[in-house]
Amino acid sequence: MGLMLSSRRILHLSKWEVLRAWRKTSPKSLLVGVLLTVLIMAFVAVTPTSGIQVTNGLYVVGVIVGDYNEMLDSETRFSTYSFTDRPTALAKLSSGQLDLVIGRGVVYFDSQNEKSIAATTVFEEVWRENREAVLRQQRDLNPDQANMIFPILVSVSYSEVERQLVAPNEAIIIDLGIQPVEFPVEQPIDGQLDPSPPISASLIPIDSQVGVDVLTTPSQLAPPLPFVSTIVAVSLLAPTFFLSQMYGNGMMSEKTGAKGRMLLATPLRRFEIVAGKTLPYLIIAVLGTFAITQLQSFFIEGSSKIGVLQGGIMVLLLLPATLMFFAVSLTSVMLSRGFKEATVISVFLSTFLSLYLIAPSALPLTFPVSLVSPVTGLMQITEGGVLTIEDFLRFTIPFSILSLSIFAVAGSLISEESFFVQKRLIPKIVDGLELLISRESILIPLGFASVFFAFSVQLMLVTLGIFFRGLGGFLFIILASALVTETLKSVGLYALVLRGRVRRDIRSVIKLTFFSAGGFYVGEKVFLLLLAASFLPLLSLYSETSRIGFLLLPFLLHMATSGLLSSGLIYGGPRFYPLFILLSSLLHIAFVIYIIRLMISLLGL
């Protein structure tokens, strides 16, 4: 009954939100908006064809002989100038006016000049492509010489390197013009023959057999770069970017225009207000994302068509991230004091979130880490991969918990006081937490939820740490990670102490230590289980090490750091919070270093 009533209220509020937004939107603005969006899409469609022109004419090349002009003109990065004599051209190269000088069969460059070295690499690529194009023409003219011109044929397959035969007897040849040939058959080690008989390779269209090795020439081998799928994934986020901005503005109008006060005077509960206001934007974002999944193949060159079911899965996959953008938008509105501040905080948080979503998915070195960004899942689907239910849950659960937690904190700030009283950032956050923590035991779920936030921030730090290689990068990651973990673990505790809701006795210290450390510890383990499939090697190591107390050690660490923080806060007061955060972080780092050393000794590295 209560649920029905709540749903009805939420829908009623949503209806009003839609009507209000519709009334405020003039047909002219709508038309302009649609036209501009179409223009953007047209641009996206045209740009891959025309190419990115940022580096147009970047390298200045001097050509001594005229034979290469056509080849060099095909590369937009080159500005070419003809020279009749070598010394003049080399003098210009030496003075830095030219980046390359090309003579017959020789390319001069300045090895002290980074730009000149880069130009050499571009030239080599251009020359190689030109040579292959000429050879392809020659092969077409002399088909009987195809095996002479392209003597090497390569097949690539991605699977576990294990005891399997790799005779390319099911290969497809794409437009190579070579004669059909019998492939040799290898004998497997167990002496049993491959059941499939050898076949003659012939010109079979690539789409006719899926999952079969493809034969190609060495120059046509391309590393699997997820460039197009990254563009598809980013374009799917576009409706969310715009709509979360509009949602934030709508909420800000309620706040500044004092209309929110009227809402608070109604029997609506806070979560109903948040849900009612969010729902219309969320629905439009979901529909917009789905529409893009169905239309992207028309405006993104190189992308393939996505089916309705796949599109639906992609939308569901992205839903927690969409919710997160809305949560972030609401948070920035509730924490800010004006439009400008709200915009900047919202852009800051959205940029951070985008960095978290997009960067890991494109980082091959952090492959297991990349599996926690839903964008990786989107890319997996775009590239025709299979998404298991485990994958789906792994991509969505952390984000869902995190989004709902942020909504809860931001939603708790929707009160008359926050609408009328201007406060600084930290007191505002503390207000939100204080309202959320009705009982001390709420610290347990708060600690649990903060694991996902801590992990997201740590993931970002890992991403950023890649740019600070060596010991500096390592220290940066562990110091920042420890600071983030300890701050998030204790932020609820700090809010309680700051508001004077904690008694100064040992019992409170023990109780709060147990609540904050316990919640975080349980969250950490649940998170580990969620990631089990993607961290299999790590998990096997974990299960090995847990036998010797690795399950207990993290618990002791959380208890120790939380104990240090809670006793420091309760007996020292909130002003000592930064000091105790630092101390507990140092303790945390010492533990991490100890574990790393222990692992190294266990693995015998």
């Binding site: 020789v106 011109i149 991605y158 390197v161 790799v166």
Partner: protein, 378 residues
């Protein structure tokens, strides 16, 4: 005297803007946004570059088993070994399978057909895990296979008439001072990531953000109804608008200067700093004027933000897609390709023409607001 008073009014209004910004958390967040955006782009570019083989990698830790007969297998194995891979050469399938069963192998290569000078194709199959290092393995294998292809072609094409085309002739790279570059591919990726991605972003973000802040500041005055209060003082509407635009232009230019200093500290060489500053300032003026026009034209915060986002996105995209655009010019200036501002292309002329055009629209809009007063506010 009038000019002096006008300047004083300007200064008072600019001071008000500075106080407002310093009270809010706008400025630090703005700086962090720029840093994060640059990091996001560079991280993406680096990861793509890394996949393409431009990154540093401990190739010696990658283990390859190669099985096959004849000189083609030897040539390929040697080439892979030269590239730093740990190559285990075996002759039979049994030996290869035994190795795979007993140790960690990242790449399994089987070569079928060993005669480099023969007339049959040489088949090479590569098998690897779909793992983070797959891209790097493919890149390294590709280079070695191209070596093998070159050797085979040299032997086979001697007998083939290619109609006089000397397509197999290779270029000799000659450094001026006789020293070869240590890592040309890595240098290439480092250079292109810096000048084709980082520089355009670093010098276009201040313009985008300044324009957005100028627009927000003006819209906020109207929505909070403080514009009316300001107009009670001895300042005109034009004073309020233009002082805000001036302030955000100066703020944008300051950001460019700070970025230049940061790049210098990071050891990234930037040529033609004065011209970059001039060009960057023109870009900022354009975006700030755009923010001003949009703010004066659209009355609600949502519409102004939406219009600015879309127009700014379109403009930035066109700058990345058009030859001779300000961004293209900025890159060439920073890399030292050119030392002078070139305005010889259509896109550059459009860019220059846009500034006075926006000024005119802006003045017209402010004048229109003067006529209608505060009727449309709120």
């Amino acid at each position: 005297m009038v000019t002096f008073r006008a300047s004083l009014r300007f200064l008072v209004l600019i001071r008000k803007e500075i106080v407002s910004l310093s009270k809010e958390k706008t400025l630090p967040f703005t700086i962090v946004i720029q840093l994060l955006t640059v990091l996001l782009s560079v991280s993406l570019a680096s990861s793509f570059a890394f996949s393409a083989g431009g990154g540093e990698l401990e190739t010696g830790s990658m283990r390859v088993v190669i099985q096959g007969q004849g000189e083609s297998t030897t040539t390929l194995a040697n080439s892979l070994s030269d590239r730093g891979l740990y190559v285990l050469r075996v002759n039979t399938v049994e030996e290869a399978n035994e190795l795979i069963a007993n140790s960690r192998i990242d790449l399994d290569i089987r070569v079928i057909g060993g005669d480099l000078g023969g007339s049959d194709p040489i088949f090479v199959s590569l098998r690897m895990r779909d793992s983070p290092i797959a891209s790097t393995l493919i890149r390294l294998s590709k280079e070695s296979l191209e070596d093998l292809q070159r050797v085979a072609r040299q032997q086979r094409l001697d007998t083939v008439n290619l109609k006089g085309e000397n397509v197999l002739a290779s270029f000799e790279s000659k450094p001026l001072n006789g020293e070869q570059a240590a890592s040309p591919v890595a240098s290439f990726y480092a250079f292109e990531t810096t000048y084709a991605i980082m520089i355009p972003l670093i010098f276009s973000l201040p313009a985008l953000i300044s324009g957005g802040l100028a627009m927000d500041s003006l819209t906020q005055e109207r929505e909070r109804r403080t514009l009316g209060v300001l107009l009670v003082t001895p300042v005109t509407r034009f004073d309020i608008y233009s002082s805000k635009l001036l302030f955000y232009t100066i703020l944008g230019i300051t950001q460019i200067v700070v970025w230049m200093l940061i790049l210098q500290v990071m050891g990234i060489s930037i040529e033609n700093t004065t011209n970059i500053l001039v060009l960057g300032s023109l870009m900022i003026v354009m975006f700030v004027l755009l923010g001003g026009v949009i703010s004066a034209r659209f009355k609600t915060k949502t519409l102004t933000q939406l219009a600015y986002s879309v127009v700014a996105t379109l403009l930035t995209m066109s700058w990345f897609a058009l030859r001779g655009s300000p961004i293209n010019m900025m890159v060439k200036l920073a890399a030292g390709t050119t030392s002078a501002l070139e305005f010889d292309s259509f896109s550059s002329i459009l860019f220059l023409a846009a500034i006075p055009l926006l000024c005119m629209i802006f003045l017209k809009e402010v004048h229109r607001e003067n006529d209608i007063g505060l009727v449309n506010s709120g």
